[in-house]
């Protein structure tokens, strides 16, 4: 019953007229961001974060969260109509989404992806409602060793499971940690790597780095790939189709994919670092292996579209659990959300739901409403989004550059931070070009200070002995899961290599 009381409290916050406006606005903006090729939720959130500074914290976070999961909905539209995923989490949706569109079934594919996103997102939010409070109670017993191991687990999972090259991923994370050490050392008060600059005493700002790496870096890379030359000729015209709505056969074929994709996605999303990309690829792979007709996969199987869509949206909800209950973001997008929470003086962690129930449950309740709004928007506003897909990149990109630049300046009114953003953009371009992981850099930058502080506290508690990580049960448990992730990552890498070798 406590869950319902909490949800009613949350709904009373979320249903206020201004918060509903923020929710709708965030959902729409998120979907538009999702359909811009190369732009994922992390880029959208970092670019638009400065725009929320004038709002009250709850409204701002409701809007940012709506942008986050709205982008997950929107990313699939281009996967289906253009065979161009908006970001890595929706790559799996192209496997069967685009073949369906080629067969003249873009309408049913678009409707099914919207419903799958809704089911995945809603199942995820229901599981947050049920589990978040319990999770917070368990994690209240966590001490510095457990928090340090969780940070390491998040980074290791991101490096090992995402990206082609784990060595480049590790370097990306180490760069983030290194940037995070700039500024005053809180323990001793000594300045580190500031070169006498007053601007660097409080450290390198997270927002300029995030906007640079995700926003400008992605834009430069898109120009390098020649996206500014591309027209909109490749879009499949779904309006001319006879049947827009899915058939009963589609629903029957996909019924188990909805369940499997949603539960798997949420479970993976809860693991710090794993995220929506891993969830969607695993859901696709499991759906294919459990299907009676695996030969249909890749040729337009509806369940091949539904499973990854459910999974990536459920994973996005799942990633909110470690963010809200531990203060540990599981992905680059939730790292930006964490930065936003900290900026408004909210400290996510085991006590957040107890000390700020209006905020925490208001956010959870807004996610229920947001998923409903997005379902309607996804189905009935598709023509509007197609218009955005048709907007030439050569006009869209300079406009986005303006928002990045002015948005960065508006944070602290600092031109030095704008130059930092430009520098991060150039580095982000090369990172993207050569297969590094900007997400690992940003995650490590956010988690670096926490990692340093908890490692220091741990070694003080244990008088310098690293065995404390093994002696404490919960810390050992996290260590074992992390080792399991590494073994799984190695196995996945070898399977990928074998698959490539077979294909060539």
């Amino acid at each position: 019953m406590e869950i319902f009381d909490n949800l009613f409290l949350g709904l009373s916050v979320a249903i206020s007229p201004i918060n509903l406006v923020y929710l709708m606005l965030g959902s729409l903006i998120g979907m538009i961001i999702g359909i811009i090729p190369g732009f994922g939720p992390a880029a959208g959130l970092s670019i638009l974060l400065p725009l929320t500074f004038g709002m009250d914290p709850t409204g701002a976070i409701i809007m940012l969260a709506a942008i986050y999961y709205g982008a997950m909905y929107g990313g699939t539209i281009t996967s289906i109509l253009l065979n161009t995923p908006g970001e890595s989490a929706v790559v799996a949706s192209t496997f069967d989404g685009f073949p369906l569109a080629q067969q003249g079934r873009a309408g049913p594919a678009l409707v099914m992806q919207a419903v799958a996103s809704f089911v995945g997102g809603t199942v995820g939010v229901i599981l947050i409602s049920v589990l978040a409070a319990t999770f917070a109670t368990v994690t209240r017993n966590f001490g510095p060793p457990e928090f340090f191991m969780l940070v390491m687990m998040g980074i290791v999972t991101l490096v090992v499971l995402i990206g082609e090259n784990w060595r480049y991923g590790a370097i990306s994370a180490l760069i983030g940690f290194a940037i995070g050490t700039v500024g005053v050392d809180l323990e001793t008060g000594i300045q580190r790597f500031t070169f006498g600059s007053a601007e660097l005493i409080s450290g390198v700002g997270f927002i300029p780095i995030a906007i640079g790496l995700f926003g400008l870096g992605e834009l430069f890379y898109a120009f390098y790939q020649g996206l500014h030359r591309a027209g909109s000729g490749g879009i499949i015209q779904y309006q001319s189709e006879d049947r827009f709505w899915p058939t009963i056969r589609d629903w029957l074929d996909s019924r188990l994919a909805f369940v499997r994709g949603s539960i798997l996605g949420f479970c993976i999303g809860v693991v710090p670092g794993a995220g929506a990309t891993v969830a969607s690829l695993m859901a696709y792979s499991i759906e294919k292996s459990s299907s009676r007709t695996p030969e249909k996969f890749g040729k337009g199987a509806m369940e091949g579209l539904v499973a990854p869509e459910c999974a990536n949206n459920a994973a996005s909800s799942g990633a909110m659990v470690p963010l809200l209950t531990l203060g540990i973001p599981g992905s680059a997008s939730t790292a930006v959300l964490l930065a936003a929470l900290l900026m408004w003086g909210l400290k996510p962690g085991p006590l957040l739901m107890e000390q700020n129930p209006e905020f925490a449950w208001g956010l959870v309740a807004s996610m229920y409403l947001g998923n409903m709004a997005l379902l309607a928007i996804s189905i009935f506003a598709i023509p509007l989004f197609v218009l955005f897909i048709k907007l030439p990149y050569r006009i869209l990109a300079p406009a986005v550059i303006l928002v990045c630049t002015m948005g960065t300046f508006s944070v602290h009114g600092s031109i030095v931070e704008v130059w930092l953003m430009v520098g991060a953009g150039v580095i982000g371009f090369f990172m993207k070009l050569y297969g590094f992981s900007p997400a690992a850099t940003v995650l490590a930058l956010v988690l670096g200070p926490l990692a340093e502080e908890t490692l220091r506290q741990t070694l003080i508690i244990s008088r310098g002995s690293p065995w404390i990580f093994i002696e404490r049960g919960m810390s050992l448990g996290i260590l074992i899961i992390t080792l399991g992730v590494i073994v799984f990552g190695i196995w996945m890498g070898r399977s990928r290599k074998k698959l490539r070798a077979r294909m060539t």
């Binding site: 940690f177 323990e187 400008l216 130059w419």
Partner: protein
């Protein structure tokens, strides 16, 4: 280009490590963990990983390192972003944005003069109004003190 980028990162890592080891102490005077503890661990790992990767990449340098035909446009966009920052800093946000948009569109969207002029002027005005008046956000005021 990959080797050049990796070498630049290696040099930066060595510089970071040199500062971490020379300026910061691993332990404080009281024998507790000092300000250099974490940076020195990170620096050691970073230099080790970078060295290993530079050697590995140098051995495999015949791989897929072809430069895209769009490198000139990419470089031009980077330069124009730099110009936007400089122009905004000296002239103010609105003139800086208008100059950037007109220049960027004249390079990227050639021949569409009317569209470029309309988008190049109206979009910055819209964004300026949104940031300055709707969101009450700070915008570069410009050093010349133009009334914008």
């Amino acid at each position: 280009m990959r080797i050049a980028f990796m070498t630049a990162l290696l040099l930066l890592s060595v510089f970071y490590a040199a500062l971490a080891f020379s300026d910061l102490n691993f332990l404080s005077a009281r024998g507790r963990i000092g300000p250099g503890f974490f940076p020195q661990i990170i620096a050691s790992l970073l230099v080790a990983f970078m060295l290993y990767n530079v050697v590995l990449d140098y051995r495999r340098r015949d791989g897929d390192d072809a430069v895209s035909v769009n490198w000139a446009v990419t470089l031009a966009v980077v330069a124009m972003v730099g110009l936007l920052v400089v122009a905004s800093h000296f002239l103010g946000a609105l003139p800086g944005m208008v100059i950037f948009m007109l220049l960027a569109l004249s390079v990227l969207n050639r021949g569409q003069h009317v569209t470029n002029l309309l988008v190049g002027v109206l979009l910055p005005i819209g964004l300026f109004t949104l940031f300055r008046y709707s969101l009450n956000a700070a915008m570069p005021p410009g050093m010349l003190g133009l009334p914008l």
